[in-house]
Symmetry: C2
Subunit: 312 residues, 2 copies
């Protein structure tokens, strides 16, 4: 239940990180693009197939040391229906390798529409007598601006299918404070209120390790808030973007963890996908090996400050 499966994998690998698979075509090595354009044409299908081969190579080099991937839906939708098909194929491939998959879709809507998103990304669609999985991720990022009506349908699917959600609380971008940091009459900020709502939504989805199935997105770029929210949201597991390319370091993200070294998973996307560009003497042919090296460096970097991860 809740994020137990994810936490088990984190503890087993002693690695609380997730590889963001946000494969812009610019990030894909030329030899992969050439091969796919030759086979499928210089079109959205050729581009989408290049993303898939890129993702598969990365997953092959990461699955035994990194517990999870986080594909960002936008980078697949950008290549149209062919790109979205590759999102589904990437999820299926990562799961076949035992990885936990967090679809980063930041979906939000109400009632039956949110039920449709829940089914799309985490559940099963009924077609006559069959139940079929449209995308089948393990967790989904969501936006809570619409309140409880937008979250409840997810909780049902999470409960039935052992899945989780991450609600945007305090995002990592420079302008996140424009709305999120505003003070309410009650004295709380908007993000604190959203955090409190996460704690309350999670009450019905408690896991075995103290964390519910309703997680929160809290950016590494605001370490003071991360620290404060860790205390205020003791039952909420954090997905932390902003490490690496966006400027957050291990010193910043350490606040996301509890005394047992659990409670959060740290994302790196470009840092891993484009690692070869930062390693001396490497070419794009080395992208997958370099991604693995960077994933290990990141794991060790975080481990050095967080210590051993244990569950009671």
């Amino acid at each position: 239940m809740a994020f137990d499966r994810l936490i088990d994998k984190i503890v087993e690998m002693q690695n609380p990180t997730v590889a963001g698979l946000d494969p812009k075509l610019d990030f894909v090595p030329q030899f992969i693009k050439d091969r796919c354009f030759a086979e499928y044409g210089e079109n959205l299908k050729g581009a989408a197939q290049a993303l898939l081969q890129f993702n598969i190579s990365l997953i092959d080099k990461l699955y035994d040391i990194v517990p999870a991937i986080k594909p960002q839906a936008a980078y697949y939708e950008m290549y149209g229906p062919e790109g979205v098909k590759v999102l589904a194929e990437t999820i299926a491939y990562a799961k076949s390798k035992g990885m936990y998959v967090i679809t980063d879709g930041k979906r939000n809507d109400i009632g039956t529409t949110m039920e449709a998103y829940s089914i799309a990304h985490l559940g099963d669609t009924r077609v006559n007598q069959q139940m079929l999985s449209p995308f089948g991720a393990d967790a989904l990022t969501v936006n809570g601006y619409l309140g409880t009506d937008g979250i409840k349908p997810l909780l049902k699917v999470c409960c039935e299918k052992d899945k989780g959600i991450f609600v945007l609380v305090k995002t990592s971008n420079p302008s996140s404070g424009e709305l999120q940091d505003l003070k309410l009459e009650s004295g709380e900020t908007v993000y604190e209120r959203m955090g409190a709502m996460c704690e309350s939504w999670g009450e019905s989805l408690q896991g075995s390790y103290g964390y519910s199935g309703v997680g929160a997105v809290v950016g590494a770029t605001y370490p003071e808030m991360l620290k404060e929210l860790r205390v205020k949201m003791p039952h909420t597991f954090f997905l932390v973007p902003g490490y690496g390319a966006q400027g957050g370091g291990a010193d910043d993200v350490k606040f996301a963890f509890d005394k047992n070294g659990i409670g959060a998973i740290i994302n790196s996307s470009r840092g891993i996908m484009c690692a070869w560009q930062k390693q001396e003497g490497k070419t794009e042919k080395d992208f997958a090996d370099c991604a693995r090296e960077e994933a290990i460096r990141m794991r060790d970097d975080i481990q050095s400050l967080v210590g051993k991860m244990t569950v009671n």
Copy 2:
């Protein structure tokens, strides 16, 4: 520029309404499903093809009297990549009939990721020397919780490609007030602040009729707020859900319009898609004719309170 194309169509047809295409399989007549399952199998493809045929029949009966459709992405994603392909095909078909298309995706993210969503739904993707359109809607609904970083990339595409966005301000659902109605220290509510941000984001995208390309979603179910926001957001075009099935009537939505009878478009989804169920003596074979009748009734209902729509 901005929503001028949409406003021109509304004035031409004297109809400020949009047909929501949220085609749950349950809404699709059995004879269409039987035909598609026989041809494509009882699977996600068969289901998706049934949605497509349903949509095409509806568009054929609506395009000369209704200016726009609003497909809700969730109901397509629910059928996996095959469903998402049907979203693209529905958009293309509606555009071929001259309709304005608003993709209801409530997308949100930051920086380059939001740029990817902008390109996906409104713009063109570069594949080597070609610029290709992934989904090609005219407008997209978005969530502004992440602030300006999440909106700016859209403004660029809107400006270059003559497109628009609708930002969630005050949604139509029962729990929308949990966050949106909270009072800030400044005395404003959260939704008023979001509304003010819309006015400011729209400044760079002014159209010829006084409305910018940054619209707002404001629910028909809160008529007092609709009235108040119409005054406070004079340059923001409204997309108004909640008419019909959700309980809002013409008496409620009239507040969304300005003295010239423009400034808003009212959505009805189930009311139109499932109209045959409410009309005496009709069967599911009549679904498209009944949808047209309901669209005309809705147009006349709103016209009777809003009067003639004119642009200066």
